[in-house]
């Protein structure tokens, strides 16, 4: 095998330069030695002989250099020639080349994009923060539960831990920023004074925090703004440093602006401002959190020293925690501190994003598999089609090894284009993750740059695909036997088996994989649709909700009561408003309901003596009419049920079933937070926290009896959001021009925002499912084209014998449909087994939902028909005479 010999030679020249160099030296030495011997035999003395020998050779180094060059230029020459030839061959069959490059681009691009997203979130989630690979987080542990850590404990860890390079605090918080008539809650961080230095980010205006600014209760009301906040709310004011701004009802001095592209250290949310830890009471409320070792509220980060493993750090920190437990038994007994890696940290949203990522990675593997089978298939088909050409060239004296090298070069060219295209696609899609999440209404930053390790992985995949692609035709030509292949190939029959089975089974595999993805996408889409269209038990589309900045404006309870009464009267009088009411918490949002231990007459406590805890909401009169929750018995709250009247409550059906065993509880007593109330009504169940929750007991109490200063206002209206919002702002400001309004949204929109994860999952699976379908169709098209072109003789014969175009069409299509049907049948069998794995993502949709399967079947069939159509149509255009005469 000659080409076996040549390949190692090339590699030797490339890789083992040293050995070649030594050999060259040795070879020339041998020559010189012989020449010296000859000269000495002629009578010269050793020195003379040596001198003359060197002279006759002409300088050892020059000769060496020339030899080296011989090897070099040849390599380059041959390579360039192969490349040029490869280009020509690819240009000759543009359809094939474009298809292969397209497949490779899609596969490699999708893979690179997904890899960069995953790597971004898991490993490098905080843009501009230095050395994230050494960051870990700390939480407290008590018995087996997780808890936070306390500030004094963290200071001790910082002092005693030798493996920690630095420790800093970064707690998420929110505050109302009210500028003009717009108020919104913006997210920020409470941080330790060393925060900006520890993460290596420096403000572009002003300064970070000085050490000491995180001590002292509320002693340092200073704030660093994010670049985005500075631009959007403060109009990029260059004189911003030193100005003051009210957050909630505390005035802060602005001391710095963070750089562009820095979003804080919380995955899944953009931080807009940073305040030092001394201000924690102003934002979290509660007692002195800085001195009290028992006050556990801290979310701490540690950067380990280089080379330190998490295990080592955990050991040292556990030892410190044990020491603290011994020194301060009152607060720290039985408590430890646990070290977490960034992507498992309980206090950011990476955990929410991970399930989506798992889906993504699986899906992209499917796609890559389809791409590889596609490309391999197309190449097999083409190499088979070129057997004739190859054989003729061999018979005319072409060097077999050279032929092989040319084929490999062609494969490499295709892969190079595919890889370049894939990189481009990945680059364009690098912000795709952000787009997907912004569909769901979230405002968060998803890291989207393509960096070193990601490119490395993509390049590795490219290389593997390249080798696979490039070597496939190589193996085909090895088995070329000259005489065999010179005989005609066009005598193959449409239904022939044999070598065709491998190609056909590849196509069947692709169809199966695509079908699986389509079924998954259909199931997820159905589930999402169900979630979003199932009635939550109240009218979510015609009810809008917002609230007024009463707490930040400093309203106390009496003033707030007056304001609330006046406002609700005005709102009810507005045109188009059917009803309006207040409630402390909104269902299907991120807010949490109040809960209380309850007791009632005639209900036996369970053996462990614990009173049951149930959730409740504090609502104003007209709440149920506004929300559209039907009253089953009894009455709603009225204005008479105020703080001077006897306490009352309204319960839902599940509560009646659980605690009163289905009997009407109106008139019965119910103890809430230690006070006895009387049940005056029963309402239908509705959804409280999530759409897929099971029915739970729930009750309502009058807002006046359990007062809160800043409840949400719900307005039931036929008017569109813009006009009702404008009208509301007018009324609010008429009462008090210092107040502002939070974002007004419909309850449905509120609920939609909490299902964002499902939406993203659906979008992703649908997108990749579509991609897989496209690729499978391409594969099918390729195989059918080939089969038709190989069967021209048979088709010509049939047409000559009287078959019309429609017969030929049917023949070709049926062959194609046979392949797809096989693939679909296998796909159905696999899907019935595998969709069970989607179980917990599906809401009210069975994993064997027939509609989803039927949809996938229909889509797959239509796509296959489309793919087979063009080859079939070309078959009908066969000129029978030409086909019969052709070789």
């Amino acid at each position: 095998m000659r080409w076996y010999y040549k390949l190692p030679l090339r590699f030797r020249a490339l890789l083992r330069r040293n050995k070649a160099e030594l050999e060259l030296g040795e070879e020339l030495q041998f020559h010189l030695q012989n020449q010296v011997d000859e000269f000495m035999a002629q009578g010269m003395n050793p020195q003379e002989a040596r001198r003359e020998a060197l002279k006759s050779l002409g300088g050892v180094e020059q000769v060496k250099e020339e030899c080296r060059e011989m090897r070099r230029t040849n390599l380059i020459d041959n390579f360039l020639q192969d490349v040029r030839f490869g280009f020509r061959m690819l240009r000759r069959s543009p359809g094939f080349s474009i298809l292969v490059i397209l497949c490779l681009t899609l596969g490699i691009g999708a893979n690179a994009a997904v890899s960069s997203w995953v790597e971004g979130i898991l490993l490098n989630p905080y843009p501009l923060v230095s050395h994230q690979e050494r960051l870990v987080t700390l939480t407290g542990t008590v018995r087996d539960q997780r808890d936070q850590t306390s500030w004094p404990d963290l200071l001790d860890v910082q002092r005693s831990c030798t493996l920690c390079e630095t420790l800093f605090l970064s707690n998420i918080t929110g505050a109302t920023l009210s500028i003009g008539e717009r108020a919104e809650i913006i997210r920020g961080s409470i941080v330790s004074a060393n925060y900006f230095d520890a993460i290596g980010v420096h403000p572009i205006l002003g300064r970070g925090f000085e050490s000491g600014e995180d001590t002292g209760r509320n002693a340092h009301p200073v704030v660093v703004l994010s670049y985005h906040l500075w631009q959007s709310r403060f109009k990029g004011d260059p004189e911003i440093i030193g100005k003051t701004q009210r957050f909630d009802n505390v005035v802060y001095t602005i001391i710095g602006v963070a750089p562009k592209g820095f979003y804080g250290t919380f995955v899944g949310r953009n931080m807009e401002y940073w305040v030092p830890a001394s201000m924690v009471e102003a934002l979290y409320g509660g007692g002195d959190k800085l001195e009290d070792r028992g006050a556990r509220w801290c979310e701490a980060y540690v950067r380990l020293k280089p080379g330190v493993t998490r295990n080592q750090a955990q050991q040292e920190i556990s030892a410190i925690a044990a020491r603290l437990a011994a020194e301060y038994p009152a607060t720290n007994r039985g408590r430890g501190i646990k070290v977490w890696p960034l992507w498992e940290t309980p206090f950011n949203h990476a955990g929410h994003v991970l399930p989506v990522f798992e889906i993504m990675v699986v899906v992209v593997m499917f796609v890559l598999l389809i791409v590889c089978t596609n490309v391999g298939n197309l190449l097999l088909v083409r190499s088979f089609a070129r057997r004739h050409e190859m054989t003729v060239r061999l018979a005319l004296g072409a060097d077999r090894g050279r032929l092989l090298r040319q084929l490999v070069t062609e494969g490499l060219l295709l892969s190079a284009f595919g890889a370049a295209g894939g990189m481009l696609v990945a680059y364009w899609c690098r912000h795709g993750l952000v787009l997907l999440y912004s569909i769901s209404g979230e405002n968060m930053y998803m890291p989207g740059q393509i960096d070193g390790p990601v490119l490395g992985l993509s390049a590795a995949i490219c290389l593997v695909v390249t080798l696979a692609v490039g070597l496939v035709p190589a193996f085909q030509t090895r088995h070329l036997a000259l005489a065999d292949t010179l005989k005609t190939e066009a005598s193959a029959v449409m239904g022939a088996r044999g070598r065709a089975w491998f190609r056909s089974s590849l196509v069947v595999l692709q169809v199966t994989l695509s079908f699986l993805l389509l079924v998954g996408a259909a199931l997820l889409m159905q589930s999402l649709r169900k979630i979003r269209t199932t009635s939550p038990g109240f009218s979510s589309t015609s009810v809008f909700d917002t609230s007024v900045t009463l707490t930040t404006a400093g309203y106390d309870a009496p003033r707030a009561k007056t304001f609330q009464d006046e406002l609700i009267q005005r709102v009810r009088a507005l045109p188009g408003v059917e009803a309006a009411a207040y409630a402390r918490a909104v269902p299907l949002s991120y807010q949490s309901f109040s809960s209380s231990p309850i007791a009632l007459d005639g209900y036996e406590l369970p053996p462990n003596g614990q009173s049951p805890d149930e959730l409740y909401n504090e609502v104003s009169p007209d709440y149920f009419a506004t929300m559209g929750i039907p009253l089953i018995s009894g009455r709603e709250f009225t204005r008479a049920d105020d703080e001077n009247a006897p306490r009352v409550a309204i319960v839902n059906q599940t509560m009646v079933a659980r605690y009163w065993r289905g009997q009407n509880p109106v008139g019965q007593r119910l103890q809430v937070k230690g006070d006895w109330t009387r049940v005056i009504g029963v309402v239908k169940d509705s959804k409280y926290y999530t759409m897929d929750e099971t029915p739970r007991p729930f009750f309502y109490v009058p807002l006046r009896q359990y007062f809160t200063i800043e409840p949400d206002i719900h307005i039931r209206t036929t008017q569109p959001l813009q006009s009702i919002q404008a009208a509301l702002i007018r009324e609010v400001r008429a009462l008090d021009p210092n107040l502002a309004l939070y974002e007004m949204i419909s309850l449905q929109e509120q609920a939609n925002r909490t299902t964002s994860e499902q939406l993203v999952a659906v979008a992703l699976v649908a997108l990749f499912g579509g991609l897989a379908l496209l690729l499978a169709s391409i594969g099918l098209y390729g195989v059918m084209s080939y089969t038709v072109s190989q069967s021209t003789r048979e088709l010509g014969l049939r047409m000559a014998l009287g078959a019309g175009p429609s017969n030929v069409l049917r023949l070709v299509l049926s062959r194609g449909l046979l392949l797809t049907t096989t693939g679909i049948v296998i796909g159905i069998a696999l899907a019935l087994l595998l969709t069970r794995l989607l179980g917990n993502l599906l809401y009210q949709v069975s994993p064997r939902d027939p509609l989803a399967f039927a949809t996938a079947f229909a889509v797959m069939t239509v796509a296959s028909l489309a793919a087979c159509f063009l080859p079939a149509w070309r078959a009908t255009r066969t000129d029978p005479m030409r086909a019969l005469r052709a070789e």
């Binding site: 010999y5 050999e23 041998f30 020559h31």
Partner: protein
Amino acid sequence: MAKPTELVQGTLDLLILRTLALQPLHGWGVAQRIRQVSKDVLQVNQGALYPALHRLEQQGWIRAKWGESENNRRAKYYSLTPDGAKYLRQERAQWKRLSSAIGLVLDMS
């Protein structure tokens, strides 16, 4: 019309290949054999010999193997490959045509 150096290079290649067609030889041996057979007329330029050998090896007309020489030293022996033999046949035919053509022109009256 080829450059003079190329012509010389091509001729040297031909000589080397023909010499190796008989038996495998090392570089020194090739030079000696050519000198012998041409009765000392053709003295191969030693500086051009080894680059030529390496180029021929690169192109696959000859292959190399290390072995022991007559005087028990390590030497690199070259031998002709089948491709090389084919190439040699073609080049010999070409040379014959060329030299007879030149002869015709020189002999013209």
